[in-house]
């Protein structure tokens, strides 16, 4: 059995489960009080200057106009180009953008290798000599792969350097953060070396993906525990472990950012009579309270609404 491919499967499973568990946990937290922050991107006709529906006279009598396109207009440059960091922290952007864009390209590389692996398994030739589609896939994989690895490596090195040599950053950097960046540097460096030395056109990696998508985890004919070359094996091993590791850390912000924007910063849904929010609030107001300050005196039995309606005098202030 090819141990490297088994580790890859396990890593993918860990990644998916970690993301799902975190996503569900955050989703199941109670609906909170409103805490929006303007500009709110979906405010139709108002997002450009940060206005809200509260600028309307008797807003509660009018339909709220929300714009999905407005959200995309903000989110796409924010995600792809790190527009906020560009605007507010240009020096950091110079380091952070190559790193993140490199990661996006490498995510694209994984997609291309999956498609290439499936195509190869189906008998198509993905190479410089193949058909038009095979050729395109080959060349795009080549370009995306090297660009992603080079950008990712440079970005990770630049971020690591900033955290090591700039005192403002160093004082906020934990040992674990150094480990995280070093993990990226090592993975990207090994991958570049693997492709520079042993697998210059990603054909070896594509062959691994072909085996992954066909669930061919058999050992090599000579009985060794993996079939690919040594450097490629280390590349896959490190890449797999990194994939499993990311969602277990604060780097899970790659998907939790969806919550900070849509559930907090842009969450401007009013509590209208009969709405779902009102039903959720009615439930939350019944939670027992145990805060101990003299003006609250929660005993774990009195509910939130009991205390809010009681006033301060009943609580001994």
């Amino acid at each position: 059995m090819d141990v490297i491919l088994i580790i890859t499967y396990v890593s993918v499973v860990v990644f998916i489960i970690s993301v799902l568990v975190r996503f569900v946990r955050i989703s199941k937290l109670p609906t909170h009080l409103r805490w929006e922050l303007y500009p709110v991107a979906h405010e139709k006709g108002r997002a450009s200057y940060g206005g809200s529906y509260l600028e309307e006279r008797e807003w509660w009598t009018k339909p709220r106009e929300s714009s999905r396109a407005g959200e995309l207009k903000v989110m796409i440059p924010e995600i792809l180009l790190l527009a906020g960091v560009w605007e507010h922290n240009r020096k950091h952007w110079l380091r952070s953008f190559p790193f993140h864009f490199g990661l996006y390209l490498l995510a694209g590389l994984v997609g291309l290798l999956l498609v290439g692996g499936i195509a190869s398994a189906a008998g198509a030739s993905v190479s410089a000599e193949g058909g038009a589609v095979g050729q395109a896939l080959y060349h795009v994989t080549y370009a995306v792969g090297y660009a992603g690895l080079v950008l990712g490596l440079l970005g990770a090195l630049a971020l690591l350097g900033r955290r090591m040599f700039n005192a403002d950053y160093r004082e906020y950097t934990k040992k674990g953060d150094y480990f995280n960046l070093a993990f990226f540097v090592l993975t990207f460096a090994v991958a570049l070396m693997a492709h520079g030395v042993a697998d210059p056109d990603f054909a070896g990696l594509r062959a691994c993906f072909e085996r992954l998508v066909t669930f061919d985890v058999s050992s090599a004919p000579d009985g060794s525990t993996w079939q690919m070359g040594g450097l490629t094996a280390v590349e896959i091993l490190l890449g797999s472990l990194l994939v499993a590791y990311i969602p277990l850390t604060h780097m899970s912000h790659f998907f939790t950012k969806w919550f900070t924007y849509h559930h907090v910063r842009w969450s401007d849904e009013p509590n209208l009579p009969g709405s779902q929010i009102e039903r959720q609030m009615t439930e939350a107001l019944q939670y027992p309270v145990s805060w101990s300050a003299p003006h609250i005196r929660g005993d774990g039995k009195k509910t939130w609404v009991d205390i809010a309606m009681a006033g301060v005098e009943e609580n001994g202030e």
Binding site: R46, L54, R265
Partner: protein, 536 residues
């Protein structure tokens, strides 16, 4: 002398003072305030204060926490802090903000983008303890060590070092009151981490578990309001008397017969002022009376407890006090059967009742709330109020209260009015949702104990002063009267004190006041010269 570097873990190390505030480190102000003598000296804390209170954070105190008598008392307070820390992360005790808090606890990448956005960090000359991420990182490490992972082999390696002791607790309490909660930093965070929220939650922990809060906000603020009716101490009887005086004054001043309606059942609008206006800026409620009467509005004020004072200090430090006051406001409106509540010129009252308490007001307490900016815009542009903009022929700029603008999105109504009635209007830079806090946000405008006044004017309000001076930079000549339109009572409180501190009226004839005063000043139905330039 180079500035001292302060690490996050240093907060736990007992010393006389974690950080020193030196005037020469602060960001220079624009001319003519760019000389050291233009800024008053930062008064040292008195010996009595040093003896009695915990003063080891910086050179001032806002919360005034008494020093524990002995080690046993220290330990007890630390234990209470820990108990509150745990409660803050349970859905039963903190459903109100648990999701945003956890998101901010888990995902900071320490990129320091927030620091650039913070007026306090900038004005202090980049004092490390005022970096928005400093207090958050202290709190994050405490949470991860004592709540999330409860120690463990890799915990310090992964999350950083921190020690929980009385020094940490006392300094953290004070540090939560070195933030205006303006959330400008959160606007710039690429991940959506909200350091303003974390400061807010720390304040809540101290208030809701240890009963520790700034006296001006709790004892003299929300508690007084719930007992007497207003944090100003005005009972219903007194407020009615005061408004009667204001009606008389404003009638004489305008030539109109103004009589504020009280407790008029079935009125369309319940108008709730920040009662501070009635006490300190009586021409503000007076101008509202004039505008509403001339505009033919069906309105009333309420003499119920808290029904005549829109302030809600709970929004800055305590969810239960927030809810209690919001419920009183809603009950007053419900009793009168009004169609809507209109909030007067008070930013935090706007946000507290319209946005933050929105989800607490369920059932028949969910009475619609509207900003007075919107109501006033409608009155002017519907033609019910006639104006002559030439009466406002002086330089005007607009301060954007954070709570009304950045945190509520009410940006343009007040601008449309000002552009219409003030021909020499110019924006501050930056403005709108990117504007800077006045320095009085989160309760600081009413906090002047010990030498905190020096802190809020030399650090908190420094950026706003710079913005105002820049807005009028070509017309600083004292022969030209200038007007900073400030449609928020707390911001006005801060600007009043800031202007006195730097002598802005005497030196440059810069006056602050509200939007309604500017409107009344140009109403053709009103005698000219409503604005009282000599009253400042």
């Amino acid at each position: 002398m180079t500035k001292k570097r302060i690490k996050v873990e240093d907060i736990s190390k007992p010393s006389e003072k974690l950080s020193e505030l030196r005037k020469e480190d602060f960001k220079p102000l624009p001319p003519p305030f760019d000389t050291p003598e233009a800024t008053p000296d930062f008064a040292p804390l008195s010996e009595a204060a040093r003896e009695k209170y915990e003063v080891s954070l910086d050179d001032t105190i806002a919360v005034s926490i008494p020093k524990p008598k002995d080690k046993a008392e220290e330990d007890e307070l630390v234990a209470k802090f820990l108990s509150g820390l745990e409660k803050l992360f349970t859905k039963e005790d903190n459903w109100t903000f648990l999701q945003p808090l956890l998101l901010s606890m888990e995902h900071c990448a320490a990129c320091h983008t927030c620091s650039e956005a913070c007026h306090i960090y900038e004005a202090s000359g980049e004092n490390p303890i005022y970096r928005p991420a400093f207090r958050s990182e202290v709190f994050r490490r405490l949470y991860k060590k004592h709540v999330k992972s409860k120690g463990g082999l890799l915990q310090a390696w992964r999350d950083g070092e921190i020690e929980l002791n009385w020094t940490t607790v006392a300094r953290l309490a004070e540090l939560s009151y070195r933030c205006n909660l303006c959330r400008r930093c959160a606007q710039t965070c690429p991940i959506g981490v909200d350091n303003g929220l974390i400061a807010h939650e720390i304040r809540k922990l101290f208030s809701q578990e240890l009963g520790i809060a700034a006296k001006e906000l709790h004892d003299d603020g929300s508690v007084l309001q719930l007992k007497v009716g207003s944090s100003t101490g005005m009972s219903p009887l007194v407020v009615k008397d005061n408004i009667e005086f204001i009606d008389e004054d404003v009638s004489e001043k305008t030539g109109l017969k103004i009589e504020t309606p009280w407790d008029k059942a079935g009125a369309e609008i319940l108008l709730i002022h920040n009662a501070g206006e009635i006490m300190s800026w009586p021409m503000n409620p007076g101008a509202f009376g004039v505008i509403f009467e001339v505009g033919g509005v069906s309105w009333t004020m309420s003499s119920e407890i808290a029904g005549y004072d829109s302030i809600n200090y709970g929004v800055w430090y305590d969810d239960f006090q927030l809810a209690r006051v919001a419920i009183k406001h809603a009950e007053a409106a419900k009793k009168l059967g009004v169609k809507k509540i209109v909030l007067g010129e008070c930013g935090h009252a706007h946000k507290a009742l319209t946005v933050i308490a929105d989800r607490v007001l369920t059932g028949d307490l969910n009475i619609p709330r509207e900003s007075c900016m919107v109501t006033l815009e409608d009155l002017i542009f519907s033609g019910r109020i006639k104006v002559d903009p030439s009466r406002n022929d002086f330089p005007v700029t607009l301060h954007d209260p954070c709570n009304l603008v950045r945190l509520m999105g009410v940006v343009e109504p007040q601008r449309r009015i000002i552009r219409h009635i003030a021909p020499r209007f110019r924006e501050m830079e930056p403005h709108g949702v990117h504007n800077y806090c006045c320095g009085g946000g989160s309760g600081f405008a009413i906090m002047s104990g010990h030498n905190f006044n020096d802190w809020r004017h030399q650090i908190g309000g420094r950026k706003k002063l710079e913005q105002i001076l820049n807005a009028f930079k070509d017309e600083l000549d004292p022969s030209i009267r200038k007007y900073v339109c400030t449609p928020c009572s707390n911001c006005k409180g801060q600007l009043r004190d800031l202007f006195v501190y730097y002598d802005l009226w005497e030196k440059h004839s810069i006056l602050y006041d509200g939007l309604v005063e500017l409107i009344a000043n140009c109403m053709t139905d009103v005698k000219p010269d409503f604005i009282e330039w000599e009253w400042h």
